[in-house]
């Protein structure tokens, strides 16, 4: 997996993920990236999932773990551009309602201000 972080309006950190979030390949990396942002005091994080090609239960677990650690620090973690199959995978485990999911980046970024 490749990760890169962009600055959005209002201090929102946009994390672009690319590739696989699977066991041994991207799962730990995702957590580390989020942890670093949290340590740096970033509270509002938007994960752009558009280019995530595959996810497995470990990747889903990490997403949930990231959600928890950001929320515990008083921040918000939201998702952007969820591919249909990842949407399905979140839905069957009843996690889809946990995440705020957006289809438009400006809308997503603006939502953090609310």
């Amino acid at each position: 997996m490749k990760t890169s972080v962009r600055d959005g309006q209002g201090g929102v950190q946009i994390l672009d993920l690319k590739g696989k979030i699977t066991i041994g390949a991207g799962d730990v990396q995702l957590r580390e990236t989020i942890n670093k942002l949290v340590e740096d005091g970033k509270k509002n994080i938007l994960i752009n999932m558009q280019d995530v090609t595959t996810i497995d239960s470990s990747g889903i677990g990490e997403l949930v773990g990231c959600y928890t650690s950001v929320t515990n620090k008083g921040g918000k973690l939201k998702l952007l551009h969820l591919p249909p199959k990842i949407n399905d995978v979140l839905t069957v485990t009843q996690l889809i309602t946990v995440f705020d999911v957006y289809e438009s980046e400006p809308e997503a970024v603006a939502s953090f201000a609310g």
């Binding site: 041994g24 497995d56 485990t93 946990v98």
Partner: protein
């Protein structure tokens, strides 16, 4: 209901892999190849390969504890449109009845515990069995004809 009942031309394919997560893809690749002759929707293929990934990841992680000297044994076959995936590890085995329900409120935010649930969701049947001399054998089945029908009805 589908009336086609071809048996796979290939016969059972067996494979064994060293306990590394990187090898999951090789097995998925082989499974994809095995499914090639069968006209199943891309969606179905995708979920089968995800279930395969989950069962192999468990065998490598929980079963063989990532010991590279231990191997994961895989057998795949399609008979009469039914895909059977059999995975055996060289670990200590476990009691599937003791596995937590990932949908229970207290487990919802756990960072693990969804693999078996996904397997059961995406396949028709998942069976667990301790094998002699330790280790776990998991058999996943999926009726490919049924998958075809479902998708047709659905869309």
């Amino acid at each position: 209901m589908s009336s086609t009942k071809e048996s796979s031309a290939s016969g059972p394919v067996r494979m064994s892999l060293s306990s590394r997560f990187e090898n999951i893809e090789m097995a998925q690749h082989l499974c994809g190849k095995l499914l090639e002759g069968h006209e199943i929707p891309d969606e179905t293929r995708h979920w089968i390969l995800m279930a395969l990934r989950e069962v192999l990841a468990n065998a490598i992680k929980h079963g063989n504890a990532q010991d590279r000297g231990k191997r994961v044994h895989l057998e795949m076959d399609v008979t009469g449109e039914v895909l059977k995936i059999q995975v055996r590890d060289e670990g200590a085995g476990f009691d599937p009845d003791k596995v937590d329900d990932p949908l229970a409120p207290e487990n919802k935010f756990k960072t693990s515990g969804r693999g078996i649930f996904y397997m059961k969701t995406f396949m028709d049947d998942v069976r667990f069995q301790r094998v002699e001399g330790g280790g776990m054998e998991i058999v996943l089945t999926k009726n490919l004809a049924g998958a075809k029908d479902k998708e047709e009805k659905g869309s």
